[in-house]
Assembly symmetry: C2
Homo-oligomer: 662 residues x 2
């Protein structure tokens, strides 16, 4: 690099630094250390490597850039402004961290264009990017290099690499040989508490190499070295880690290299001193024209690949173009409707006695044949979760043409990777584990909800009905804890037909993740007369009405609906009129009119039945109403014995109804 | 090893195998593959290395044995029977996985003696054992080699090493140079879905070495090699991984080496074939006398260390003995009472305006000086969480005499390590992270609740009150999701005095973990007249009564209590009598009498205020009552603006009360 080039580079990098410093100073809140430290790396990446088009931020074949160390959000906001994304105005930068600004404290997906995902909870970025890089390879397998051929770049911090999810991510990426995934680690040896040597001594290069990555260490302030390392990483047949040795808060004469720069403004004096030290005599928020011009010119050059891609796309045949666009749009409603209608008919006709995980498998058998966009998987419970369909073809490093991902025993990494697949577009991911292990993946489930991504978490073995595996494996509070989460649909279907309808509802929701709670144990079919209308879509409905005037309402979900129906039948024999309400999805029921809700729940006494904690059920219960469920943790024993022991029985429902109607 | 020795070893190992095979066959459920594969390793460990006393299972200086791969529970049950733990009878083995048996599907802490922790959720065992091994070193530092000097052995499976938590655990153990931690990895290359090469290709030895471990690979069916490897591991100055190359389902001629043996009984035919193959002509559940005798003799030899220890203990001075026993018993009530009384007085006198994370720090300053048993820490948020006290002394590989653990950015590993510290005994652990990251540690929080361990999770930044960091960092549903969990006390104190009382309540609960939800933002003190009685211990109470007859009740927790008090004061000026109920701990309130609950909540209209999801609040609300809180995810902005935006304001409470009392 010549001196002139070097000077240009430094000015461009300093533009990032001072936008960050000034915005954080103005908002009196934020994290300057990381943008200042990684400005050189980011400058090289955005001017020499990353293919993007600021004027067409959603160009499908763009390289992806993920700021896993999301607290350094001013790095990406600065970049988006300097490279000319139209919505990232200087006004937005000045309103950093203020209400309504697109420049939130951490990068929020959907706020500013060019933000590929929400980051902040550490480790999520690197794990989600594995899903993006995997989706790229799968999409490439389907549509070829002409339409799909891009890189995924990640900036990760020390914290990202300490989080457990990073292990799941790098093991998965190494195994799948995701060679177009390149992680730039901000190797500054500083975390919030101080030097990282207070809490870790892992040799990260050796660790990544052990998982099948290429790994190298460079001076993160040497533009030439950065470029050379990225070149090498692009050429590698493995995913690559580039440890960028940087100084946190680079340029701050009195604070750089310390955790003081991590999460607080530099303060006016130190900001002035930094201007001096970096030879940046310009006022706050002012980027000199020639520097801005250099950035805009570089950005224009980086967008050249978009033009070339568009030519290739335009010369593809119409069918390919349509299929490509369909996969990106991901609107499966028509396919869903036809398939679900057929499957429901079969269930109503054949009335199978199946665990809902098994009827789910039958639904998926049909759906996945109809939609090449669906991609299944499991965290090493393929047989148990019913996610392995008859068209099973595993995705692996030798064949990205499959429809099934063996995620390994990695629930958190799996959920994050699914977020990445959904964000990348081209595929609609679902995959399975046991409901009790929703606890492991909760961080990623929440981020998917916040990012409004359509991801379906199949969670089987959804109660004490799993029996002998005992309390560690028996979810009790998990359904409640997921219902508590904003923007998640929690389905717990009561028979095979409801399973089919739940899948239709889940996959037709384009901006909400779903959790499918499915039983291990067999259940008889209850909806034995075919209805085209999706009842589950209403969230709750009267699944079995009474003959005369209603005296009591029995509400239940999942495997307890059949117990409720049995109780209602016994009550009918005793002359007590009980209506049974199946409530497979509370969130959808909440969206119905008050009239409909009232009509379903009625005015008579209510009994709620769910083999789970009561927590949350009081939303539907009034004084004097009853709940029959779990008082605490479960136990290890055959399932029927556990239902008996915990009193979740037809007899107890009948007894409660008799007391209530007495 | 001579042939005779070899034969004896094989018979002893086969005794484990057939107890496992027969019990699983009888219960028609269970996991034979692991006990069959690891029987040789377990036999060597329990006959030649592990120091334990079956007749005194709680001997403080015993070596710890953790079956991280908990599905192989019949391995430990067989060992406990063969080595003569009195409660592990043949009858219990025959009742494997039946209701009421101590031989649950997965090993449950508190069921059978000799089970050091509950395992099953993969990775928890290895992560918890890090806490045990750390507590051992700390206790050793305090009481010396004579009283504390034992090893922690772990059997882990492929799944344990795939889980992200394993990374947090091994990074922490390597950093702390926990050289007395020895992990025996059942390296059988089989997971549930099939060969592990379907989902992972990490070189585990290289991975562990990268984190500062010794690592070696041996033939897990060669008794001499196993013994040699354990010898070497004991001599190492690093934690050790021994990869034991085994055949899953060893001895089953048609199923060994396949996932068919993992999670299902062998079946009668294959069981017979296995008897033939391993030359085991004995009927089900029958262990020939000479083999049982060999086991019992070996166990007696292994208990010799207990006798020697007892002599050493008896010759220690009285003060040391008392301090040692006090630390193991961990009854801090007296110290707590005195300290908390003092701190509360100071708060009531000085009426500080502090965030509850700050008043918590003041409480901890006092508590930790009074109790050398308390050990603090944080997942790299020491300054933010208020867990770093004035007596701060970090624990590290060079000094285990500290009282503060820098857990690193590892929330899940931290929570599991705290479980291990509590299970080990000698210390009472607490540590901090942000409440939003409770999602990351949830798996370990739940296991602590199930094992009934006193562990305090300090969770600060407990609402939108954290402001600019935005929705990724703002807990909304987390309080609800923790309240839903059985056997957890969720505290959300409303002022400094309540903070002190919450700590007293949490630490005096010996069989329940607690979560301390604390604010980032400042709050004024509300309890300005000193009361000795712990009000928080009742869960909820009238913190500010009205002058005349109550017309409305305003219920609130944490930082919203002061908003409720302000509203009540404004209402009083308008002539409306509002009582304010602080509800710092729902679970403790549920334990009060119906009369007390009624007296506190009253009969008048209720308004609940919490800057969180409504989910769960309907337990305390009736038709027509109001909830003021969060409708969904938060946003990035200064905290006061967010409270305003989401309508969690005095004005809105006043308005609601006026409407209700109109």
């Amino acid at each position: 690099m010549t001196n002139a080039n070097n000077n240009t580079h430094n000015e461009m990098a300093n533009a990032i630094r001072f936008l960050a410093v000034d915005a954080i100073e103005q908002s009196k809140s934020g994290h300057p250390g990381m943008p200042m430290g990684m400005a050189d790396v980011a400058t090289v990446l955005f001017t020499q490597f990353l293919n993007y088009d600021a004027q067409a931020p959603n160009w499908a074949d763009r390289d992806r850039f993920i700021l896993s160390a999301g607290h350094g959000s001013m790095l990406i906001y600065s970049l988006l402004y300097l490279t000319g994304y139209p919505d990232m105005t200087l006004e937005q930068i000045k309103n950093f961290r203020q209400y309504g600004a697109i420049t939130a404290g951490h990068p929020e997906y959907g706020h500013a264009t060019g933000i590929e995902m929400t980051t902040g909870p550490l480790g999520q970025g690197i794990a989600t990017s594995v899903g993006m890089a995997l989706a790229e390879r799968m999409h490439n397998n389907r549509f070829g290099d002409d339409l799909v051929d891009h890189y995924t770049y990640v900036i990760a911090g020390d914290g990202c690499l300490m989080e457990g999810i990073s292990h799941e991510a790098i093991d998965m990426a190494g195994h799948l040989k995701l060679s177009k995934l390149i992680v730039l680690w901000d190797d500054n040896e500083i975390s919030i508490d101080g030097s990282t040597n207070m809490s870790t001594s892992t040799d990260q290069l050796a660790r990544f190499e052990a998982s099948g990555w290429d790994a190298t260490r460079i001076d993160g302030h040497d533009a030439a070295a950065i470029a050379k390392a990225i070149e090498a990483a692009k050429a590698s047949d493995k995913p690559s880690l580039i440890a960028c040795k940087t100084t946190i808060g680079y340029g701050s004469p009195n604070k750089q290299g310390t955790s003081a720069t991590h999460g607080a403004p530099l303060g006016p004096d130190e900001t002035a001193a930094t201007r001096e030290a970096l030879n940046w005599p310009y006022p706050s928020f002012e980027i000199p024209e020639h520097i801005l011009q250099n950035w805009r010119t570089a950005a224009a050059e980086r967008s050249a690949a978009h033009q070339v891609w568009t030519q290739r796309f335009d010369s593809a045949d119409a069918e390919t173009r349509a299929a490509f666009e369909f996969s990106i749009a991901g609107d499966l409603d028509e396919q869903l409707a036809a398939t679900v209608e057929q499957v429901k008919k079969t269930f109503s006709d054949e009335q199978p006695k199946l665990a809902t995980r098994q009827s789910s498998q039958k639904v998926l058998d049909a759906l996945i044949q109809a939609s090449p966009e669906l991609v299944s998987g499991s965290a090493d419970l393929s047989g148990s979760n019913g996610t392995k369909t008859s068209t099973y073809r595993p995705v692996n490093a030798e064949d990205f043409g499959g429809n099934y991902i063996h995620y390994g025993v990695r629930e958190h990494g799996m959920a994050a990777a699914m977020n990445g697949i959904a964000l990348h577009k081209g595929y609609v991911p679902f995959s399975g584990t046991f409901l009790a292990f929703a606890d492991y993946s909760r961080g990623a489930i929440r981020l998917g909800a916040l990012m409004e991504q359509r991801v379906v978490h199949v969670m089987t073995h959804d109660s004490i009905g799993l029996g002998e595996d005992g309390p560690t494996h028996q979810p009790v509070e998990h359904i409640a804890s997921l219902r508590a989460m904003p923007n998640v649909l929690v389905f717990r279907p009561g028979d095979a037909v409801e399973v089919a309808e739940s899948w239709q509802s889940a996959l037709s929701q384009k901006s909400t993740p779903s959790v499918m709670c499915l039983s291990r144990q067999g259940m008889r079919n209850l909806r034995n007369e075919h209805q085209s209308e999706n009842q589950v879509a209403k969230g709750a409905y009267v699944i079995q009405d009474c003959d005369g005037e209603r005296q009591v309402t029995i509400m239940a979900t999942g495997s307890e609906v059949e117990i409720a129906v049995d109780a209602a039948n016994q009550l009918a024999e005793k002359g007590i009129q009980a209506a049974v309400v199946s409530m497979p999805c509370w969130e959808l029921f909440e969206q119905q009119t008050a009239e409909y809700q009232q009509q379903v729940l009625g005015d008579t006494p209510r009994i709620a039945v769910e083999a789970a904690a009561r927590f949350g059920w009081d939303q539907w219960l009034r004084d004097g109403d009853e709940f029959i469920g779990m008082p605490g943790f479960g136990a290890s024993a055959p399932a029927p014995q556990l239902y008996e022991h915990f009193g979740i029985t037809t007899a107890n429902i009948v007894k409660a109804a008799e007391t209530q109607t007495n």
